[in-house]
């Protein structure tokens, strides 16, 4: 039987790994390759690596780093950050990455999803939705490290992305990021029940219990997390660790 995946999310900045709180206050947590090696030993279900500088600073993805990470990974890898055209997607997949995550690009260029899905297949195209609660109810989509607000409503947008050929929606909660206060189950449930494609959620997991609760509630889902897999204890000492749902 297919089971829910438990997925560490690694944020890359300046070739190092960082962990943020609400997309800010990043703390250095180590070297990407070293982290991948530890996650190999822990037999993680999958890894998501997001370069959080690439789009905001209008940089090309760091292909050398992606290639090094991909060839080290003994588990499936999803890469996101700075991807805005088909050539980049083809190049990243050729480096041994299973899935490419788009984020800002599809808002302005929906054709990219269709074109990419046709060329490389839906299974390799994920879209990260950075969402946050509106002050007066509802949710909104943001891009560029939560500095640019988008008009479209997240659930409508998720439906649209699935129709265009996206193979996975990764819901990234800005309000919960790094807070370890639990997943934002409301928006996760709304999107997961609206689309026929796999959904992964990240932002807020504070314990394996949060992860288990999400999987119990949502059925098949990707349970992604940052803090719980890079920090230990209340003083947030850096320690790469991992558990999946069968461990």
């Amino acid at each position: 039987m297919l089971r829910s995946r438990v997925i560490p999310v690694l944020l890359v900045r300046d070739k190092g790994l960082v962990k943020t709180v609400k997309f800010k206050n990043d703390k250095y947590v180590g070297d990407p390759i070293n982290a991948v090696r530890i996650f190999n030993e822990k037999e993680v279900d999958e890894l998501i690596v997001l370069d959080i500088d690439a789009t905001a600073q209008v940089k090309e993805p760091n292909y050398d780093l992606i290639e090094n990470i991909a060839s080290e990974c003994r588990m499936p890898l999803c890469y996101g950050g700075g991807v805005n055209n088909l050539d980049q997607i083809l190049k990243i997949l050729s480096l041994g990455v299973e899935k490419v995550a788009l984020s800002a690009a599809p808002y302005d260029n929906e054709g990219l999803i269709e074109e990419a899905a046709r060329r490389v297949g839906s299974q390799s195209i994920a879209v990260v939705l950075d969402v946050r609660k509106r002050r007066f109810g509802g949710y909104q989509c943001m891009t560029h490290n939560a500095t640019v607000a988008r008009k479209i409503e997240p659930v409508d947008y998720a439906r649209k992305l699935a129709n265009l050929g996206a193979g996975e929606i990764i819901i990234n909660s800005i309000d919960r990021d790094g807070t370890m206060s639990g997943y934002d189950t409301r928006i996760i449930q709304s999107i997961n029940s609206a689309v026929p494609i796999p959904v992964t959620a990240v932002g807020g997991a504070g314990s394996m219990q949060d992860v288990r609760n999400l999987a119990d509630k949502e059925g098949i889902i990707g349970c992604a997390a940052g803090s719980i897999f890079v920090f230990k204890g209340k003083y947030r000492a850096v320690l790469i660790n991992y558990q999946n749902l069968s461990q």
């Binding site: 297919l2 089971r3 279900d45 003994r74 499936p76 390799s124 193979g167 494609i197 959904v199």
Partner: protein
């Protein structure tokens, strides 16, 4: 020597890393001579059927590959789209497949996307023919990583050596003489996947031809 066919698609390095750690002689083959020198071949693949076929057809490897597999009967293992390419055709594209196995590649279809979201993505269990040498030293229901929306539908069910349930029971692994196809990703499935790659390196694949 195992040649990992490199035609611009798939995790050639991930396979090379596994064989490097196992201390098994291998090479990343982007020239026909390397396929000629090899005694076994891995055909990886990620992505859409036509894109994969197009790259393979343009790679300069196609003719040597066909010869190595069909005439010389070298053991070959196709992974994911690498397996699907071994079929005659795919619902995902219009190009002809390699036609090494009488099979068509079909799209999953289900009304119940709540229980079975598509693509089929994640860790799922295999029902295996446990006597098969490819599964030596493995548990009865191994779990491997899947990432696909299309499945391999072989005409002769006796060549199926592993199946998986997802909306329906489908073929996960086939073996027809020297030809093996695997839908899931052993190169990304930790120790279980490593066992499969290791067993492929030593098994007599064309015994039961």
């Amino acid at each position: 020597m195992i040649a990992i066919a490199s035609y611009g698609l798939g995790n050639v390095k991930a396979f090379a890393n596994v064989y490097h750690r196992l201390n098994i002689e291998h090479c990343i083959a982007d020239k026909p001579e390397q396929l000629k020198d090899a005694d076994r071949i891995i055909l990886p693949g990620v992505g859409a059927f036509d894109h994969a076929m197009q790259l393979l057809n343009q790679s300069g490897l196609r003719e040597t590959l066909d010869h190595a597999v069909l005439i010389q009967k070298k053991p070959v293992m196709g992974i994911c789209v690498g397996m699907q390419m071994m079929a005659c055709k795919s619902e995902e594209g219009t190009l002809e497949g390699l036609g090494w196995v009488e099979a068509s590649v079909r799209k999953f279809s289900t009304e119940d996307t709540k229980t079975y979201p598509l693509p089929h993505m994640g860790w799922n269990t295999l029902q295996i023919d446990s006597s098969h040498p490819l599964f030596a030293n493995m548990s009865d229901n191994p779990e491997l990583y899947f990432l696909h929306s299309y499945y391999f539908d072989n005409e002769d069910s006796s060549i199926t050596i592993a199946t998986t349930d997802y909306a329906k029971r489908f073929t996960t692994i086939v073996q027809k003489a020297n030809i093996i196809g695997i839908q899931c990703h052993p190169e990304k499935s930790h120790d279980t996947g490593v066992s499969i790659l290791k067993n492929f390196a030593s098994m007599q694949a064309n015994q039961n031809a």
